[in-house]
Amino acid sequence: MAKLLDKQRYKCALGAMQTVQAIDRALPILHSGPGCAQKLSENTGSSGYFSPNIFPCTSINEKDVVFGGVKKLDSTIENALKVIDADLYIVLTGCIPEIVGDDSGEVVSRYEDAEKPVLYAPTAGFKGNNFKGHEQVVDAIVEQYLKKSDEKIEGLVNIWADVPYQDLFWLGNIRELEKLISELGLIPNTIFGYKRGIENINKIPKAQFNLLVSPWVGLGNMKKMERKLGIPYLHYPTLPIGATETSKFLRAVGEFAGVDKDKVEAVISEHEDYYYYLIGRYADLFLENRVINKQFTVVADAQYSLGITKFLVNDLGLVPAKQFITDDTPKYYRDKIAEEFKKLNFGIEADVSFETDGYKIHEEIKTHDYHGYPLVLGGYYEKEVTESLKGNFLNVSWPHQDKVVFDDFYVGYTGGIRLIEDIYTVAVQRFN
């Protein structure tokens, strides 16, 4: 039976236009109704080059439903190539053309010999959400554009993380991951954000390996690249936030890449020294147990739910109440991710629920005994319910209304400190 979904935390697969937008000088061409793009755009920054308002769109209507929209798609691509200066064009299809059976792939294939690459990613909303749409875009690049390379660059690592724009901290996070990887003596390669773009896409096949930092988003892409391009991958499921996890992360990457152990340890201790120096300076704040809440709940996509839970338990010694994953994680990944929530320090295990219905999540938060005021890190939807419980709230996941982020990040040692700052900034306000 059809059911209502309250406060969903994702968009339809066509939301992948944000993934395309995150690639420098890449342009989405939308084969969809005019309303689709409009309702998917949001104010978390544009690409810095194209405004989403100029994304070419076939704006298909009833006529195209009945007679097919391929002609319009063809002319839209043709004209986009003429008037918009991009390095890469990716055609994204919405529901309508896919339902009525437009062969968009065939139309796009007519542009194989165009001066700039024109690719096609099927992203109809009925096929899934924007996490899935993101994977479709990367798949399109791998399948339709990249070719296997015999030439390899020693130490080159492609880094993949979660979904740009859906993750408010995507830009800062990926830059920080790059930085950490290069400290190990490796050469990071990413395709999202400032000055990356097509040149870095071209480098993908030459990498020594792919590094995926995400519980599940992108795993399919890694497998595809392994098959097609012969690139092995390291899947690190936890977004490393804070010292405990980041040190583990660096060791795992170091081992996989064959980096000298001493070198890895040297990098780690330099970071840890500074990290614990900062923590030590604020020991009074941490030991004053009235300041921070005893138990916490994270309501977020899998990456933040897992990453923040590990951080708050392992680094800050807080106790997890129930955690919620709201990204509609595909069923076959769930057990493995739930396992990760059991691998916490001090023998602690966290209970996690894969729940997309905001109403149910809020009911559970309301009825749980937090042994005091709750600490809730979640989407803006959780603000009101947390306030009604007199708890502390921090907006870390979509939807973001409470925070403007340019290139701030939560990943790594520095990211952990940033998250502590944010949490305690909220917590101390109780005493003002």
């Binding site: 009833e62 006529k63 009945v66 007679f67 339902i99 059976g101």
Partner: protein, 140 residues
């Protein structure tokens, strides 16, 4: 439920007339079968007089643009023609101007500006309506 489709075609085979060029709409009635039920002639001037369209001021001399088709898409001409087939569910012509599209939209009449065979147009449109009237998916 039966409904009508108005088509702009000079020979009954190809949708070859622009909306402005149509003097005689072929009206197809769609019930259990699709039949050509009438040829409805457009007589300039007549329809305008009894249509309460937005262009009723004297400054708009409908006669001047009401000639024999000829592509004039002025509001008077358009309103009359729209009124003439306002009992139809859809109109099919080779091209239909913006003015006319808007007018049809207001009356919830679907506009299909396509160049194809009359038969193809009828097949596709009736297939589409059949599916949506029965709440069936358009897939496949």
């Amino acid at each position: 439920m039966a409904y009508k489709i108005a088509i702009g075609s000079s020979d009954g085979k190809i949708v070859d007339l622009k909306f402005g060029e149509v003097n005689k709409f072929l009206i197809y009635e769609v019930g259990d079968e699709v039949v050509l039920s009438e040829e409805r002639e457009y007589i300039p001037g007549e329809a305008e007089d009894n249509s309460a369209d937005s262009c009723s001021s004297s400054s708009c001399d409908t006669k001047s643009c009401g000639g024999n088709g000829g592509g004039c898409q002025g509001p008077g001409n358009v309103a009359g023609k729209v009124e003439l087939i306002s009992d139809c569910r859809a109109v099919v012509c080779k091209k239909i101007g913006f003015q006319a599209q808007k007018q049809f939209e207001k009356k919830a009449i679907s506009v299909f500006d396509v160049e194809c065979e009359v038969k193809e147009a009828l097949d596709k449109i009736t297939f589409y309506y059949k599916r949506i009237d029965n709440h069936e998916s358009l897939r496949g």
